[in-house]
C-alpha cells in the first residue's frame, strides 16, 4: 500500500509559525525520504490533530502524554509511540509543581489543609491529570473532593491563570508545569513559571514550591499504526538520527536543547492511561 501524502502534527505551545519554520527542515527530509507531499499542522488546540490521528488523516505527530493516552483509550490500534525527547540531563520528563505564596506561610501540602487549591485546564497532564491522581497519595486523608481536605478545588483554566490566581491570592495553592531543571528563583529553566517571570507578571521571591510530582514522561512522537512498515521505519530512523545528522534541525524539532530522541513504547505511558481511565466517567 502506497501513501500519497504525509501529514505531520506539531505540538503547539510556542508561536505556531516559529514551530512550522522549525519543522520545515524535517518536512524537507521527509519529502526526500518518502517522495510524497508533506503537510504540517501546528494548531494551538490539539483536538484537531488527535481526531486526525484517529481518523487517519494525520500520519505522524508529537503528542502530549495525556493526549496520547486519550488517543490510545479511544482506539488502541490508531497510533504507536516511537520516540521520546531526552532532556539535557538525560531524563525523559518534566514535573507538575505545586506552589503557593511565600507570605501565606504555606510550605507543603500539609499546610494546605482547609485552603483553596487550583488546577489549570482539566485536559492538561501536569495541570490536572497527574496531580489529581498523585496528590491524594501524599498522605492519608488527602482527597480532591472540594470541602474535604481542601476547602475548595477550582479550575483556573490554564497554567498562566493558575499562576496569576496564586500570585493574586485568589487561591492558596495551585499546580503548574516546569522542567524542574535550574533554580526555583528563576522559575526553573523552562515552564509556565519561567514565562510568567520573564513577562514580569510574578516575582519568584513571592512564591514557594510546595509539592512536586514524579517525573511525567514527555509526550511521545507517534506514528499511525496503519502506515506501511517501511514508512514507519524510515520516519523513525529519520527523527532518531536527526540529532546527529542535523543538530540545528533537531534543536528546532525538539523545541530547544536536547540530547536527541530515544525509542519508546506504549509501556511507558501505561500509568498515564490508567490515570486517565480513572478520571473517565
Amino acid at each position: 500500500e502506497d501513501i500519497k501524502e504525509f501529514n505531520i502534527g506539531i505540538l503547539g505551545g510556542e508561536n505556531a509559525q516559529d514551530r512550522l519554520n522549525a519543522y520545515q527542515c524535517l518536512g524537507d527530509y521527509t519529502k526526500e525520504a518518502l517522495g510524497v507531499e508533506v503537510k504540517m499542522f501546528a494548531p494551538a488546540d490539539y483536538n484537531g490533530v488527535m481526531q486526525g490521528l484517529l481518523g487517519g488523516t494525520i500520519d505522524m505527530a508529537w503528542l502530549g502524554a495525556s493526549s496520547y493516552a486519550g488517543v490510545y483509550i479511544q482506539d488502541p490500534e490508531a497510533v504507536e509511540p516511537v520516540l521520546i525527547k531526552i532532556n539535557l540531563d538525560g531524563s525523559y520528563g518534566y514535573h507538575s509543581i505545586g506552589f503557593a505564596r511565600k507570605d501565606s506561610g504555606i510550605t507543603s501540602l500539609d499546610d494546605m489543609e482547609g485552603k483553596v487549591f487550583g488546577f489549570g485546564d482539566p485536559n492538561s497532564t501536569s495541570g490536572y491529570l497527574i496531580p489529581s491522581i498523585e496528590i491524594p497519595t501524599y498522605k492519608d486523608g488527602v482527597t480532591m473532593e472540594p470541602g474535604d481536605y481542601f476547602a475548595d478545588v477550582k479550575f483556573t483554566g490554564g497554567h498562566e491563570q493558575t499562576i496569576i490566581a496564586v500570585n493574586n491570592g485568589d487561591i492558596d495553592g495551585g499546580v503548574t508545569w516546569a522542567d524542574g531543571q535550574g533554580a526555583w528563583e528563576d522559575g526553573y529553566n523552562n515552564g509556565a513559571l519561567r514565562k510568567a517571570v520573564d513577562a514580569g507578571l510574578v516575582d519568584m521571591n513571592d512564591l514557594v514550591e510546595i509539592w512536586r510530582s514524579k517525573p511525567i514522561p514527555e509526550g511521545p512522537i507517534v506514528l499511525r499504526k496503519a502506515l506501511p512498515d517501511d514508512v514507519k521505519a524510515i520516519m523513525t530512523k529519520l527523527v532518531d538520527e536527526l540529532h546527529e545528522t542535523d543538530p540545528e534541525c533537531a534543536y528546532g524539532v525538539a523545541a530547544g536543547d536536547s540530547l536527541g530522541f530515544d525509542p519508546i513504547t506504549h509501556a511507558a505511558y501505561e500509568s498515564i492511561v490508567a490515570a486517565r481511565l480513572a478520571k473517565a466517567n
Binding site: N7, K39, F41, D45, N47, M50, Q51, G52, G55, G56, T57, I58, G70, V71, I73, Q74, D121, P122, N123, K154, F155, T156, G157, G158, Q161, I164, A165, N168, D170, L201, R276, L277, K279, A280, N281
Partner: protein, 291 residues
C-alpha cells in the same frame, strides 16, 4: 400616442435592450466570479487540509456515532450528568443574559446615534459607526484574557467581554433595522414638539422592537455558545464543559451528550420564545389579529 413618439419609442427599446444586455453581462460575470471564487477557494482549502473532502465524507458520522453509542450504553448516567451541568448552565445563562441586556442597551443607543434620520448629531454618525466596528472587531477572547489578568477568573470578565462585543455586533444589526424604519411617525411626533427621547421611544421603538428583539435573542444564543470559546482562557461555562467532554474522548461522551442535550433544549426554548414574542410584538396581543 404611438406615431408621434415612434422615434423615442425606438430609443427606449434600444436603451432597454442595451440595459438588459449590460445587466446580463454584469450578472453573468458576477455569478461566474462567485462560482470561480467558491470553487477555487474550496480547492485551496481542500489542498491545505489534512484529509480530503471526498475521502472524508463517508467517515463524517464516525465521531457522532461513537458519542451516541457511548451515551446510549451509559444512558443511566445521563440524568446525573444533566444535574451536574445545571449550575454551569445557569451561570452561563446569567453571563449571556447580562451581557446581552447591557450590550443591547448600548447597541440601541449607539445605533440610534449612528442612523441617518435619527441621529441628533448627524455629523458624528461616522464616528459612532467606527466605534461599533471597533467593538465588534475585537475578539471577545482577547478582552476576556486581559480582564482575567485584572479581575481574576470568574463570570465577570466573561460577561464584560461578551457584552462589549455584543454592543458592536447588535449595534450594526440594529442600525440596519433602524434604517428601514418609517420616518413619517417620527416626523409626526416632531410636529407636536416632542423631544429626541420621546421621538425615539414613542416613534421608533414600536416599529423596530420586534426585529431588535429577534436579533437580541439570536445574539443571546450566540453568547451562550461563546462560553465554549472563552474556555480557552478559563472563563468558560456550559459550552466549555461540552468542549472538554467532547475532546476528552472515550469515557466522557455520555457527559458530552448530556451537556449537549441541555444546551440544545435551552436553544429550542429560546427559539420558540423568540418566535412567540416576535409574533406578539408584530401583530399585537390578539392572536391572529393580522391586518
Amino acid at each position: 400616442m404611438a406615431d408621434t413618439t415612434a422615434a423615442s419609442l425606438d430609443a427606449t427599446r434600444a436603451n432597454y435592450v442595451a440595459l438588459t444586455r449590460q445587466r446580463r453581462l454584469y450578472g453573468g460575470i458576477m455569478l461566474l466570479v462567485f462560482v470561480l471564487l467558491m470553487a477555487s477557494g474550496f480547492g485551496i482549502a481542500n489542498d491545505r487540509n489534512a484529509g480530503g473532502f471526498l475521502p472524508g465524507l463517508p467517515q463524517m458520522f464516525d465521531f457522532p456515532a461513537e458519542v451516541i453509542a457511548e451515551a446510549w450504553t451509559k444512558r443511566a448516567n445521563l440524568p446525573g450528568h444533566i444535574a451536574k451541568a445545571l449550575p454551569a448552565l445557569i451561570e452561563t445563562l446569567n453571563i449571556a443574559a447580562i451581557a446581552t441586556i447591557s450590550g443591547a442597551l448600548g447597541a440601541i443607543l449607539l445605533s440610534m446615534l449612528a442612523t441617518q434620520g435619527l441621529a441628533p448629531w448627524p455629523r458624528l454618525i461616522p464616528v459612532f459607526r467606527r466605534i461599533m466596528d471597533l467593538m465588534r472587531a475585537i475578539p471577545e477572547i482577547v478582552i476576556a484574557l486581559v480582564l482575567i489578568f485584572v479581575l481574576g477568573g470568574g463570570p465577570v470578565p466573561a460577561a464584560i467581554a461578551i457584552g462589549f462585543h455584543t454592543v458592536g455586533a447588535l449595534g450594526k444589526l440594529f442600525s440596519e433595522v433602524n434604517e428601514n424604519a418609517d420616518l413619517k411617525p417620527l416626523e409626526g411626533l416632531s410636529s407636536v414638539g416632542a423631544t429626541w427621547g420621546q421621538r425615539m421611544m414613542l416613534g421608533l421603538v414600536p416599529q423596530v422592537a420586534p426585529n431588535w428583539f429577534s436579533y437580541a435573542l439570536l445574539r443571546f444564543e450566540i453568547n451562550i455558545r461563546a462560553s465554549a470559546i472563552l474556555g480557552f482562557v478559563g472563563a468558560g461555562g456550559i459550552g466549555y464543559e461540552l468542549k472538554n467532554a467532547i475532546s476528552w474522548g472515550q469515557g466522557k461522551f455520555d457527559e458530552a451528550a448530556a451537556v449537549f442535550i441541555l444546551l440544545f433544549l435551552t436553544i429550542v426554548v429560546f427559539d420558540q420564545m423568540s418566535s412567540y414574542i416576535r409574533n406578539h410584538l408584530t401583530y399585537g396581543s390578539v392572536k391572529g389579529a393580522r391586518k
